[in-house]
């Protein structure tokens, strides 16, 4: 039961003002610093909001004091008001300006392992000396290569298809305007491939990791191998509405992950896939593992909730899940009053019965006392 709250308007305004006062003044410089110093957080928010704009993502983080669910909500609300003016062309992995591309399946994948920027092999030690005023020189050890690396790398899966390890799959040639869009239509289950990939792309990082970890750890149908994990910059190619000329409207940070496992008949491999705006490795490894498990479940009955598409898609949605969770703090006076009435009635009924018993007991106890 939901009821409208009346009154308390000034208290609500004061509460909001206090929140912003404690978070400090919202300044352009703060937003700028956040965007420069927290690129992975900005990426995470942009991915979950499915809106690529680092400036606005940094603003959302600053405006909400770093409450990430609120930040995603702000960006999604903003996104909902933006007009669609063009459809970008599909992005192919082999054309992404790749800064990091690794495979856990084969050491010598075509193009080699490209580590790019990573903390994977670092010591996890807090730099306490920075707090003492020591300058951070950890980036100074980087030496640019004399020979520039290739900007693009072939897809590992393409090479595996040539080797007969993966089945050929026809590209989906649905026109851009007809691709199902999760952000404008409700999902029906079983969901379309487009809806599933869109849901994983904008899913809550923590939620996807929790469910993904559950299938990795012991509730999975499949042990995944990371076939390819890629971080890069994709050109957003659009067609000019008047001249018809195709041009790049800009570059966006993107990441994608493919995990593989032997298919049911063991004559090839099955592939799980996920991609998102921004660089977010842990989310994509978890999401592609969930994709693989959901695909395995599509062929049978789910043994665990994280194999079921409906469970995964609904429960990893950051705005809906956080919104539903925090709505419980809003007034539920009528619901509570109704249950409290019941509790009182039952308590009284029980008390009434036990009082009757208590009143009755001394009658039988009296002779005993007297006997004592």
């Amino acid at each position: 039961m939901y009821i409208a709250t009346r009154g308390g308007e000034e208290a609500i305004q004061q509460s909001e003002a206090l929140y912003h006062l404690l978070n400090g003044e919202l300044k352009r410089e703060t937003v700028q610093r956040l965007q420069e110093s927290l690129p992975y957080l900005v990426d995470r928010i942009m991915g979950e909001a499915s809106l690529y704009c680092p400036e606005l993502a940094a603003l959302a983080i600053a405006q909400t004091g770093g409450d990430l669910y609120e930040a995603v909500l702000l960006l999604r609300a903003y996104r909902a008001t933006r007009p669609r003016i063009a459809y970008a062309q599909p992005v192919h992995a082999r054309e992404v300006l790749t800064v990091r591309r690794i495979s856990a399946a084969f050491k010598d994948v075509p193009g080699g392992q490209v580590l790019g920027p990573s903390l994977d092999y670092s010591h996890r030690l807090l730099r306490l000396d920075v707090l003492d005023g020591k300058s951070d020189e950890s980036g100074l050890g980087f030496t640019p290569s004399e020979r520039p690396a290739s900007p693009t790398y072939p897809a590992v899966a393409d090479w595996q298809r040539q080797q007969g390890l993966l089945r050929n799959q026809d590209a989906d040639d649905t026109p851009a305007g007809e691709i199902p869009d999760l952000t404008t239509e409700s999902v029906q289950f079983p969901a379309s491939r487009a809806h599933r990939l869109q849901a994983l792309a904008r899913a809550d990082t923590g939620g996807v990791l929790a469910l993904g970890y559950s299938v990795m750890r012991g509730y999975g149908l499949i042990h995944p191998t990371v076939n390819e994990l890629r971080l890069g910059l994709a050109e957003v190619m659009v067609q000019h509405p008047v001249t018809g000329v195709t041009f790049s409207a800009g570059r966006v940070r993107v990441s994608q992950c493919e995990v593989v496992a032997p298919a049911g008949d063991e004559t090839s491999y099955s592939v799980g896939f996920a991609a998102t705006l921004g660089w977010n490795e842990v989310k994509l490894i978890a999401a592609s593992t969930l994709d693989l498990n959901m695909a395995a479940h599509d062929e049978g009955s789910p043994q665990h909730p994280a194999h079921a598409e409906e469970f995964v898609m609904y429960h990893t949605e950051p705005v809906e899940s956080s919104g539903f969770c925090i709505h419980f703090k809003l007034p539920h006076y009528v619901t509570f009053s109704s249950t409290a009435d019941n509790v009182r009635k039952v308590t009284q009924a029980v008390l009434g019965a036990s009082n009757a018993a208590v009143t009755h007991m001394p009658v039988s106890a009296t002779p005993e006392t007297e006997e004592a």
Partner: protein
């Protein structure tokens, strides 16, 4: 982040943003007049169209001038039964009759319905009593240039959540009439 990396906040964008906020106000408080701040020469129905339409929406406009302005949004021009947004510079019984085909959603997808943008008069005409969400008890609204048959059609499009939403316009003043509002003549 330098200034040049940010897209310019254009006058068109500012206008559409203000119109959008005015529309949310109008639908939050049905029957309450909301005045649009003047921006450029675009009249109110066109302003509403520019704020709401894009590549993925469809519309039907009776007035060819309105239609030609709105085609620039990239929205598809379609017939009454397919349109998500319908623009009427004026309403007469004949046009109301054509509106029988308008989309009123389904129980599974109530949002699969139309929004009508209709020119009328707020200073003259019949008085109606509106009740429903966003209205404290009831509100009396004077409306002119709306044929009686329109109200019959509106009732027939329900019951809630089925129906269509209406934005009434008179000059630069708009009024929201969502499907959740009950209208009685006084």
């Amino acid at each position: 982040m330098n200034e040049s990396s940010l897209p310019a906040y254009t006058l068109d964008e500012a206008r559409d943003r203000e119109t959008f906020i005015a529309l949310t106000d109008a639908f939050s408080f049905p029957g309450r007049p909301v005045t649009l701040r003047p921006f450029d020469d675009a009249d109110t129905p066109v302003r509403i169209g520019l704020a709401l339409l894009d590549l993925e929406t469809s519309f039907h406009a009776v007035d060819p001038l309105v239609e030609s302005r709105l085609l620039h949004t990239g929205a598809r021009r379609v017939s009454i039964q397919d349109a998500e947004y319908l623009f009427f510079s004026s309403l007469d019984p004949q046009k109301v009759n054509a509106l029988r085909a308008v989309r009123n959603g389904s129980m599974l997808r109530p949002d699969d319905s139309a929004t009508l943008i209709i020119n009328c008069t707020f200073a003259s005409g019949s008085v109606f009593r509106w009740t429903g969400p966003g209205i404290h008890q009831s509100i009396e609204v004077r409306l002119g240039a709306i044929p009686a048959a329109f109200w019959t059609l509106r009732r027939a499009a329900g019951p809630f959540p089925l129906g269509f939403d209406v934005i009434l316009c008179d000059g630069d003043v708009i009024m929201g009439l969502p499907r959740s509002t009950a209208v009685q003549s006084v």
